[in-house]
Structure formats: structure tokens, C-alpha cells
């Protein structure tokens, strides 16, 4: 898979997290996966259609999700994993993918993004591509985020 299409998603995630005061984000190695098994409980998936087609999935633990959402709403610490957290996770993935679509359009690749779908499950096993996807671990002060990207 062409990394030209991957990097905008990583850059967008870093920028969105920085916007909420989360700095010191480290990007791990890219890993090819044929089957995606994620041990993190919460996954937000956004579909991509346009010059390229695919899906991007952002996975978090419930603890990381709560910490991220607390950072998004300063002064309102989130202690409980509830509908508000899920909605905010959806918004975070929407903002990130939206920003990535702008970065992609800067290099002449135009895409439209779908509303995020959020899946919560222990040991979720999903396939976002019948071929292969790229997994990247992002370490943040709030915890690990796993990003899986599949582009046809």
C-alpha cells in the first residue's frame, strides 16, 4: 500500500490531538496485517470513497478513550464510559479523518468520508479488507491508539 495515502491520517491524528493539548505523540512502525484482531475495546470506523476507496479504524481501550475525551473537554473529567464518550470518540475520528481528507486533497487525492460507526467489544476481531491492511500503533500520554488503514 502506498504510504503517501497513509501519512496524512497519522499527521491528521497528531494535529487533532495537539489541538486538545495532547502532545508527545509517538508513531510506531507500520505493520501489514491480513486479519485484524484488536485487543482494545473501542473501535471507530470511517469509510472513504472517491479517488481512493477504503476504511480507517481507530481503536482505543476504554481508559484511553476516557482520558482523550477528558482532554477534549477541559474541566469536565470523564469517569464513566457512556454514550457521551462514544459520541465524542465518533467526533474525534470524524475530525481526524476529515483533516486527513484535506491533507489528501492538497496532494490531489479527493475523498469523501462516511459518518463513523463505533464498535465496542472485548477482543474484537474484524476484517476491513479481504486483502490486507496497515496497522500503526500510536503512543500518546493518554494511552495507545491503534490505527488500521485499508485502501483498495
Amino acid at each position: 500500500m502506498n504510504t503517501t495515502y497513509i501519512n496524512p491520517f497519522l499527521e491528521a491524528l497528531i494535529k487533532v490531538l495537539e489541538q486538545f493539548g495532547i502532545t508527545g505523540v509517538e508513531i510506531g512502525n507500520m505493520e501489514k496485517k491480513e486479519r485484524t484482531q484488536v485487543t482494545l475495546d473501542v473501535t471507530a470506523i470511517v469509510g472513504l470513497v472517491g479517488d481512493i476507496k477504503g476504511n480507517v479504524a481507530y481503536s482505543f481501550s476504554q481508559e484511553t478513550a476516557k482520558k482523550l475525551i477528558s482532554a477534549m473537554a477541559p474541566g469536565m473529567p470523564v469517569d464513566e464510559f457512556n454514550m457521551m464518550v462514544l459520541s465524542a470518540i465518533g467526533e474525534l475520528s470524524n475530525m481526524t479523518t476529515g483533516k486527513a481528507s484535506i491533507l489528501l486533497s492538497d496532494i490531489g487525492v479527493n475523498i469523501d468520508i462516511s459518518p463513523p460507526s463505533i464498535i465496542v467489544a472485548e477482543e474484537i476481531y474484524f476484517i476491513i479488507s479481504p486483502v490486507q491492511s496497515i496497522a500503526i500503533n500510536i503512543n500518546t500520554p493518554a494511552g495507545r491508539i491503534e490505527v488500521n488503514i485499508e485502501i483498495e
Binding site: G47, K53, A57, M83, I119, Y125, F126
Partner: protein, 161 residues
């Protein structure tokens, strides 16, 4: 409330595709109903999103036994676990065909220009699916091999009753 012509297209497409591809008959257990809550999956689910003049999503959800039977009938192979790669990719492809068929019909009627993203399929321990801030309707169906649910969601009120 989502226009009935939209939701009904996905149900009819699912019925035809499962009958023609997998020789499995599904019947509606009622009508489409607004379903804004989190959806607790029956076990195996596939989501496909589409974009055009409006944005939306089709979710098909089923008991693992039904997923295995669909994969068995389509591939003419034996499977024992819904987590098997071929079972999941078959369900994913079935969803792709269902959504493609329904969207082609809707594009012809409403000129929506809907294009599909690739489908995703998942399983896990009691997976819950939610799609915040979007109108969503479900229909509960059944088959000889297990439960089947269709959930259709559209962003905004572009084509509502």
C-alpha cells in the same frame, strides 16, 4: 422517520441476495422501527457505508450459526466457527452485494449517486454497535438457521418521510 422506499430496498435486496446466492430464505418479523440505541450484535455483523448526495450505512447482523450456513452454502465447504476467515469474508461480500443492489435501484430512482466504501465485518464478545447522531431504523428477521437483522442509517433528514 426514514423514507420507507429507502429502507425497504435494503430488506428486499437482502431477501433476494440471500435466496439467490445462499439458498436461504429470510422473513421479516415485523416492520422497520426507529432504532437510535446501541445495537447489541447477535454475533457476526457487517457494516458498509455509502456516500453521494446523502451519506448512510447498512448493517447486517446475524447469529453465528446463520453466518456459517451462508458461508457453507455459498462456498460449498464445511465451516465450524464463525471466526473463520472464509466465513467472515463471505458475509462481508454478501453485504457488499446487498448494498450494491439496493443502491443501484435507489440511484436510478432518486439520482443519489451513492458509492460504496468496502465492507467491514466483525465478531467479538458481545459486540455493541453505535452510530451517534444519525437516523437509524432496524428490521428483525428470521431464518431456519438463526436471527438476521438489518439496520439502515442515513445522515441528516435529506430523504425522510
Amino acid at each position: 422517520m426514514i423514507n420507507q422506499q429507502l429502507t425497504q430496498s435494503y430488506f428486499e435486496s437482502a431477501q433476494i441476495v440471500l435466496r439467490d446466492m445462499a439458498s436461504i430464505q429470510i422473513e421479516a418479523g415485523g416492520y422497520f422501527y426507529p432504532d437510535h440505541n446501541d445495537i447489541l450484535s447477535y454475533g457476526v455483523a457487517s457494516i458498509i457505508t455509502f456516500m453521494g448526495k446523502i451519506k448512510g450505512r447498512l448493517l447486517i447482523d446475524m447469529d453465528p450459526e446463520l453466518a456459517i450456513q451462508i458461508a457453507r452454502n455459498i462456498n460449498d465447504e464445511e465451516f465450524s466457527n464463525a471466526k473463520e476467515f472464509m466465513v467472515l469474508t463471505t458475509i462481508s461480500e454478501v453485504n457488499n452485494v446487498i448494498a450494491g443492489k439496493a443502491n443501484t435501484g435507489l440511484n436510478n430512482i432518486f439520482s443519489l449517486g451513492l458509492r460504496l466504501a468496502p465492507p467491514i465485518v466483525f465478531t467479538g464478545k458481545k459486540p455493541i454497535v453505535c452510530i451517534p447522531k444519525i437516523n437509524s431504523e432496524s428490521i428483525d428477521c428470521y431464518s431456519k438457521h438463526g436471527r438476521f437483522r438489518i439496520n439502515v442509517a442515513f445522515e441528516g433528514g435529506a430523504i425522510t418521510k
